[in-house]
Amino acid sequence: MKTKSILLALCGLAISFNSCSDDDDNDPVIENEEEVITNVNFTLTADGADPVTFTWVDADGEGPAEAVAVGGTLKANTTYSAKLELSNVQNGETEDVTEEIEEEDEEHQLFYSTNISGLSVTYTDKDGEGNPIGLETELKTGAAGKGTITIFLRHEPNKSAEGVAEGNIANAGGVNELDATFDVDVVE
C-alpha cells in the first residue's frame, strides 16, 4: 500500500516536471562579446608626408568571416609618429579597448615586427613602472621597399625579460590578444 502511494506521488512529480520543462521557449541572452577586438586603426603622421592610417576590421570577432586588413604607402627615410587605436564594436556599441589598455598599462604591451629592411619602430610611451606600452611609437623608414608590418598585443607579458622593453617579443610570453598584419609599401 505504501509502495503504491509512493509510486503515485512519484508519477505526480514526474508529470509536474514534464509540464514545467517548456520554459526554454524564451530566447537565450545574446551576450556582447566583450573581450574581442574588432577594429584597429594605426595612424602615422610626419612633417612633409601625407598622414596614413592602416585599418584592420573583423566585424564578426571569432565568427567565420576573415578580417580585412588595409595597409598603405609610406615615404622613405621619414620619421613618423604613430598612434594605435583599438576598439570593439558590437551591435552598434563601441567599446574603447585603447582606454582599457591605458588603464592596465603594466599588463599590456604592443610589439611591432616587420620584414622591410631599414624600417624600425621605437616606443615613445611608458607605463606606471617606466616600461613601454607601445600605443604610441616612432616609426622610421629607410630605403624604398615592400613588405609587411605585424602588430601583436600581449596581455600579461614579462616586461622585464631580456629584450622585451626594446620591442623584442621572443621572451615576452603572455597571451596573444591581437595579431594583425598589414601590407606596406615604402616609396621614395
Binding site: A14, P28, I30, E31, E62, E104, G173, E177, T181
Partner: protein
C-alpha cells in the same frame, strides 16, 4: 497543567523503576555464555586459519584454529564489537548482541589471493555475471585519499585518465571516455557538464566508498551510455550497529602541501540508520622536478548524508544527499592566445610563468558545485520478487574564469547551471527455474542554462532534454554456466537554442528526436573452481551529445576553435569481450580480458580542420566529425604469491584504436602500459609502544611503464608576414614511473589506527604524458610523499 504533572509523575516513576530493575538485571547476569565462530574466505569459501579475534569490550582476544574456528568463553549478555584481522586480509569489525544464549557466527573475510593489490575482483564477492566487473573497495579509496575519481579508477587494468594537470581528470576505459562512459552515482546517472576533456566528474571518492567498473556493454539497466563502460559509484550501506561509530582520515601530500580531512559517522538505532560523511581538502601549487606549477592549487569541500529506514521487513527506504564543491586552479602557463604562443612555449621547453608556489587560486580557474538528492525505496513482495523506485534531483553549477582584460577576470567567462530530474522504477523476479528477471523504466529531464553576464558567447547552448528508457535483463544459472541477456530502448528529445556566430548574430532553434537500442548477451562458464571463461557480445547505439552537435567557440587551452555539427547521426557499436580468470593452486592467479569494438559513425573531434584567423591570431578549427573506427585491446593481470607474505604482480594494458576511414590512430587513445610490483607483508605483528603492535605491515614497490603514443604529430599553423607557416608537436616519449606505498594497523582498546605512507615519482623523473592536456606547456608533477592517518572508532 494537571495532565503535565501526571505525565511528569509517571516519568519519575518509570525512572525510579529503572533504577531498581537495572541492578537486578546486573546481578542476575549470566557470564557463562560462549561465542563461537567460523571464518572463511569470501571468494573460495575456504576456512581462514590463524585470524586474530579481538573483543573491544573485554579487551580479550583469541586466534582461530587451523580450520578457521574460534571460541570466546565467559561472556556476559551485552553488546560486543569484534575485530577480525589476518595477514593479507582486510580487517573487519562486527557488532554482536549476545542475549541469554550462546552465539555461533559465520564470518567472511576477503583474502589476498583475490585481493589483487587491493583491487578486489567482484566476481568473487559480488553477484556472478558474464560481464567483466572490477571493484575498488573502501580501504583502497581511503588509502589513496586526496586522489580524484579518475586517478583512483586508474588502478584497474585497462583504465587510464585523460587529464588537464593533476586535479582535472576523467577516466578512459578500454579506449573510451566522456560521453561514451556512464557514471552512475548511487544508482543515478551522474549529470555533470562533461563538455570537454577539461571537465572532471563531480564526485568525491571518499564520500563514495565503493567504485566498480563494468567494462562490457553492461550498463543496460542504467540510463546513460551503454556503448562504453559503466562506472558505479556507491556509498557503503549503513552498518546495522546501534552505537555511534565512525572514522576519520587525515591525509597529506608533500607536493603542493596538500592537506585533507575526512570524517564519517554512522549509527543505526532501531528505527533509522544514518551516516554523515564530509571531506575538506586544500592543495597549493604543485611542482615539477624543474619548476613550480603556478596556479595549480585545489580547494574542495564535500558532504554527504545518508538515511535509511526499515518500515517493515518488506519495505526499506533510503535518502541520500551529497554536495560537492570545488575550486580548481588551471596553471597560468596554459593560457595562450594563439598557435604562435604555443610555438613559443614549445620551442622554449618550459613555461614563461614560473616562480614560488602559493595557496592562491587565481583565474584561470574552475568553480564547480554539484548537489544531489536521492530517494530510494524498495519493497519485497515476497522472497522472490521486489520492486524499487528512485527519484533524484541534481543541480550542477559550473563557472570558468579566464585572465581577462579590463578587470573582467572576476567575471566567469562560462557560467552554466544544469538541473536534472530522474525517476526510475525497477522490478525483479527470481523464477523457480533459476531464471532472474529484472526490468525497469526510467525518465530523465535536463535543463541546461547559460547564466547571463559573462560577456562571452556560450560554448554550449541552452537546451532541455527528455530521455525515457526501458530495459529488461535475464540471467540464468545452469550447472556450471551463467547465461545473460539484456535489451534496452531509449528515446531522447532535445530542444536546443543556439546562437549563431556569423552576422547578424541570431538565435537558431533545433528540435531533435533520437532512438537508441542496446542489446547484450553473455555466457560465463566455470570450467572448475580455479578457471572460468566469460564471453559477451553487445550492440549499442548512442545519439550525439549536445557538445558534439552544437559546441561553438574558442577553446583557449588547446589553441583551437571547436565546432559541433548539427547533422551528426547516431553512433553504432558492436563490442565483444572474452575474459579468462583463474588461479593455479591459489599461488598464481591471473585474469585476461580481451575486447574488440567496431564503430559505425564514431564521433570524434577532428583537429585537422581549416584555419581561422581571428584577432588573437591563427586558430585550428576542430570539427566534430564521424568516421568508422575500431578498438581492439587486451588487459592482462597476474599475481604470484611467492610466500604467504610476498606477492609479485604484473599487469599489461594493450590497445589499438584506429580510425578506419582515415587509416590513422584515434586521438586521445591511451598508450600501451605495463606495471610490475612487489608487495611484502610482514607475517607477524611488530611490537610497538607498550603492548601495542604494528599489524599487517605491508610495503609495495611499483613501476609503471607508459609507452609512446602512435598518433600522428599534431600540426599547427601560424602566419608570419602573411605567409602561412606550420610547426608540429610530436607525442611525448615513453616514461617510467616508480612509486612506493606502505601501510600498517595498530589496534587500541576500542579504536583501530591505520597509517599509510608512500612516495610517487621516486626518481623525480621529468616526463610528459600523452593524455595530459597540459603537456604542451609544462612537464608533469615531480616527486611526492604522502601520509595518511586513519582512525576507526
Amino acid at each position: 497543567m494537571q495532565l503535565l504533572t501526571l505525565m511528569l509523575l509517571n516519568k519519575l516513576k518509570l525512572i525510579a523503576l529503572l533504577f531498581i530493575v537495572v541492578p537486578i538485571i546486573g546481578f542476575s547476569q549470566n557470564c557463562t555464555l560462549t561465542l563461537t565462530g567460523h571464518i572463511s574466505d569470501v571468494g573460495t569459501g575456504e576456512p581462514i586459519p590463524y585470524t586474530n579475534v579481538f573483543v573491544s569490550e573485554t579487551k580479550k582476544g583469541t586466534v582461530s584454529d587451523s580450520f578457521g574456528h574460534f571460541k570466546l568463553t565467559n561472556l556476559c549478555p551485552g553488546d560486543y564489537h569484534i575485530t577480525l584481522s589476518h595477514i593479507g586480509c582486510e580487517s573487519k569489525k562486527i557488532f554482536v548482541k549476545i542475549e541469554e544464549k550462546d552465539v555461533d557466527l559465520k564470518l567472511k573475510l576477503t583474502h589476498s589471493v583475490h585481493d589483487l593489490n587491493n583491487v578486489v575482483l567482484s566476481s568473487f564477492s559480488g553477484p556472478k555475471t558474464t560481464q567483466h566487473v572490477e571493484t575498488i573497495n573502501e580501504r583502497f579509496i581511503s588509502d589513496n585519499a586526496g586522489k580524484n575519481l579518475a586517478n583512483i579508477t586508474e588502478s584497474i587494468v585497462g583504465v587510464s585518465t585523460i587529464k588537464t594537470g593533476n586535479s582535472i581528470g576523467k577516466p578512459i576505459i578500454n579506449g573510451l571516455f566522456g560521453n561514451r562512459i556512464s557514471i552512475i552515482n548511487n544508482g543515478i546517472p551522474q549529470s555533470g557538464q562533461q563538455w570537454g576533456i577539461d571537465h572532471s566528474p563531480e564526485i568525491d571518492p571518499l564520500v563514495a566508498n565503493k567504485i566498480s567498473v563494468i567494462k562490457g556493454t553492461a550498463g543496460l539497466e542504467y540510463l546513460g551510455a551503454p556503448l562504453g563502460a559503466t562506472i558505479l559509484v556507491e556509498p557503503e550501506k549503513i552498518e546495522k550497529e546501534p552505537h555511534l561509530h565512525g572514522k576519520t582520515n587525515y591525509f597529506f601530500e608533500s607536493n603542493g602541501l596538500s592537506n585533507g580531512i575526512n570524517l564519517q559517522l554512522h549509527q543505526y538505532p532501531s528505527s533509522i540508520g544514518w551516516k554523515v560523511n564530509g571531506t575538506y581538502r586544500r592543495s597549493g601549487d604543485m611542482s615539477t622536478p624543474s619548476y613550480n606549477l603556478i596556479n595549480s592549487g585545489v580547494q574542495e569541500a564535500n558532504l554527504a548524508l545518508q538515511l535509511e529506514k526499515e518500515f517493515s521487513k518488506k519495505l526499506k527506504t533510503d535518502f541520500y544527499f551529497s554536495t560537492y564543491n570545488t575550486t580548481l586552479g588551471i596553471i597560468s602557463a596554459s593560457q595562450i592566445g594563439s598557435a604562435l604562443n604555443l610555438k613559443e612555449i614549445d620551442e622554449r621547453g618550459k613555461p614563461f610563468i614560473t616562480g614560488s608556489g602559493s595557496f592562491d587560486i587565481e583565474p584561470p580557474k574552475q568553480k564547480v558545485n554539484h548537489h544531489l538528492a536521492k530517494f530510494h525505496s524498495k519493497y519485497s513482495i515476497d522472497f522472490s520478487q521486489w520492486v524499487a523506485v528512485d527519484f533524484a534531483g541534481q543541480l550542477n553549477q559550473r563557472k570558468e574564469f579566464d585572465r581577462r582584460r579590463g578587470g573582467r577576470s572576476n567575471r566567469p567567462s562560462l557560467s552554466l547551471d544544469q538541473y536534472t530530474m530522474y525517476i526510475g522504477g525497477t522490478y525483479f523476479k527470481r523464477f523457480s527455474s533459476g531464471l532472474n528477471l529484472k526490468s525497469g523504466i526510467q525518465y530523465n529531464f535536463i535543463d541546461n542554462a547559460n547564466q547571463a553576464g559573462t560577456g562571452v558567447l556560450p560554448l554550449i547552448p541552452d537546451y532541455t532534454s527528455h530521455q525515457t528508457g526501458v530495459f529488461t535483463t535475464l540471467t540464468k544459472s545452469y550447472k556450471k554456466s551463467i547465461f545473460e541477456f539484456g535489451a534496452r530502448y531509449d528515446h531522447t528529445n532535445q530542444h536546443v537554442a543556439t546562437i549563431t556566430r556569423d552576422l547578424p548574430i541570431r538565435v537558431e532553434r533545433f528540435d531533435n528526436s533520437f532512438h537508441n537500442i542496446s542489446t547484450s548477451a553473455g555466457w560465463n562458464f566455470a570450467i572448475n573452481p580455479h578457471l572460468s571463461i566469460s564471453y559477451n557480445l553487445g550492440y549499442a547505439t548512442r545519439n550525439p551529445a549536445i557538445n558534439e552537435l552544437y559546441s561553438s567557440g574558442l577553446h583557449q587551452g588547446v589553441a583551437a576553435l571547436e565546432f559541433g555539427d548539427p547533422n551528426l547521426k547516431n553512433e553504432k557499436a558492436l563490442k565483444t569481450t572474452l575474459g579468462i580468470t583463474g588461479d593455479i593452486k591459489e599461488k598464481f592467479s591471473f585474469e585476461a580480458h580481451g575486447y574488440f569494438q567496431k564503430f559505425e559513425n564514431y564521433i570524434f573531434l577532428n583537429p585537422r580542420g581549416e584555419i581561422r584567423r581571428i584577432a588573437r591570431g591563427a586558430f585550428l578549427v576542430f570539427n566534430y566529425e564521424q568516421a568508422n573506427a575500431q578498438i581492439a585491446g587486451l588487459d592482462l593481470l597476474g599475481t604470484y604469491q611467492v610466500t604467504p607474505s610476498l606477492q609479485i604482480r604484473a599487469t599489461a594494458s594493450l590497445i589499438d584504436a584506429k580510425n578506419i576511414t582515415e587509416d590513422n590512430t584515434l586521438i586521445y587513445t591511451p598508450t600501451n602500459t605495463f606495471t610490475g610490483s612487489v608487495t611484502y607483508e610482514y607475517p607477524k605483528a611488530i611490537p610497538f609502544i607498550g603492548s601495542k603492535k604494528l599489524e599487517n605491515w605491508k610495503i609495495t614497490i611499483k613501476n609503471e611503464y607508459v609507452s609512446e603514443s602512435t598518433t600522428d604529430d599534431e600540426e599547427y599553423i601560424f602566419f608570419e608576414n602573411n605567409e602561412r607557416k606550420s610547426f608540429a608537436i610530436a607525442p611525448p616519449e615513453a616514461y617510467n614511473f616508480l612509486s612506493l606505498q606502505s601501510s600498517t594497523d595498530i589496534q587500541f582498546n576500542k579504536t583501530r589506527l591505520r597509517i599509510t605512507g608512500g612516495v610517487t615519482n621516486i626518481l623525480n623523473t621529468s616526463y610528459r604524458d600523452y593524455l595530459d592536456r597540459q603537456r604542451y606547456f609544462v612537464i608533469a608533477q615531480g616527486i611526492n610523499a604522502t601520509l595518511g592517518i586513519r582512525l576507526n572508532f
